[in-house]
Symmetry: C2
Subunit: 203 residues, 2 copies
């Protein structure tokens, strides 16, 4: 009890600040995915997160700063979650399971949020410069996740390009799910893709 009493108050304050930041980042992903770029401002996100506008602007001065941080944070947490699921499966995740996990990532609110950011950046040079390192990092992380999950040997000819194609396909499936629920078509397609991947990787 005494120990608790003498613990400096700084720690909980940092925890609170971190929790506020996380609430803002999650609310920004949610807001981008549903209301789009134009509907996502620091004020709107603050309200959605139940955070005062002043507190929100203490963390993020501009929409661009908030949105870029949200997509970065979202990618890190979701990819870490996917890795945990694969670790729990302990090598028993088949190719189709892995592809479904990947497709889930690319049809999630995070993908929709990232898409809003990429598209906004495509006509805004300053934002583009800010987003490019993030996009490159996102690409590397996703590539390694799939290589590790499939146990793919990238020294074999064609394997690296096939993994890249798998990620481009997942991105395309994300776009195809943007306006309609594409899950039934996607599930059939992933079965076929898993068969192609198994044939290619086990040559």
């Amino acid at each position: 009890m005494l120990v608790t009493m003498t613990t400096p108050t700084r720690e909980p304050q940092q925890d609170r600040s971190r929790a506020t930041r996380q609430r803002l980042l999650e609310a920004a992903i949610d807001c981008l995915a549903t209301a789009g770029w134009a509907g996502t401002t620091v004020a709107v996100v603050a309200e959605r997160a139940g955070v005062s506008r002043g507190a929100a602007q203490h963390h993020f001065r501009t929409r661009e700063e908030l949105v870029t941080a949200a997509v970065e944070y979202g990618t890190d947490t979701r990819v870490a979650h996917a890795r945990d699921l694969l670790t729990l499966a302990d090598g028993r995740a088949g190719t189709l399971d892995i592809l479904r996990l990947l497709a889930d990532l690319y049809t999630s609110p995070l993908f929709r949020a990232a898409l809003q950011l990429w598209v906004a950046a495509s006509s805004d040079p300053a934002l583009r410069d800010q987003v490019l390192p993030l996009e490159a990092r996102f690409g590397r992380i996703a590539h390694h996740l799939v290589v590790d999950a499939l146990g793919a040997d990238e020294t074999k000819p064609g394997v690296r390009e096939t993994i890249q194609a798998t990620l481009d396909l997942a991105r395309g499936l994300g776009l195809a799910d943007l306006l309609t629920d594409d899950s039934a078509r996607r599930e059939n397609l992933l079965h076929q893709w898993a068969a192609i991947l198994d044939a290619m990787l086990n040559q």
Copy 2:
């Protein structure tokens, strides 16, 4: 000469009107692809097309109307052009040539314009209802183009899904080219994809 004199003046006026409309549609594709959704208004497109604002609004009352018509027109003209190229090749276009043609379609200003429209529609229910039939039509046209070009037999198991995957891959490649020139990576990937397709379709 007499014949020319007595030709009703209606015909050239219709031609002029059609030419004005086409100039507006092409300018809208160009404007969307470079300035994005927010930067594309009827007034901006009219200026870019060298058409008076009044004449532009005679053809298109709202941005949504103009943009939807532009993506529809763009799709029809580009797909017809791709068909012409394939017809000229007279069956001598290899799988890689066909994939390159497809990738060109999905990394063109038309794709960027369509992407702006899809993304805007994802957070605007009224626009979404307007865009859905167009997206379905775009999907059907692109699917038939690839089936015909590859001479694929969709009654064979897995072939339909493989063609769909090819189009989803192309869409993903379009996104990957949005912020950076992805052409070198894409060319390697298409070689590998052509090899996979040839193995799959000639089984």
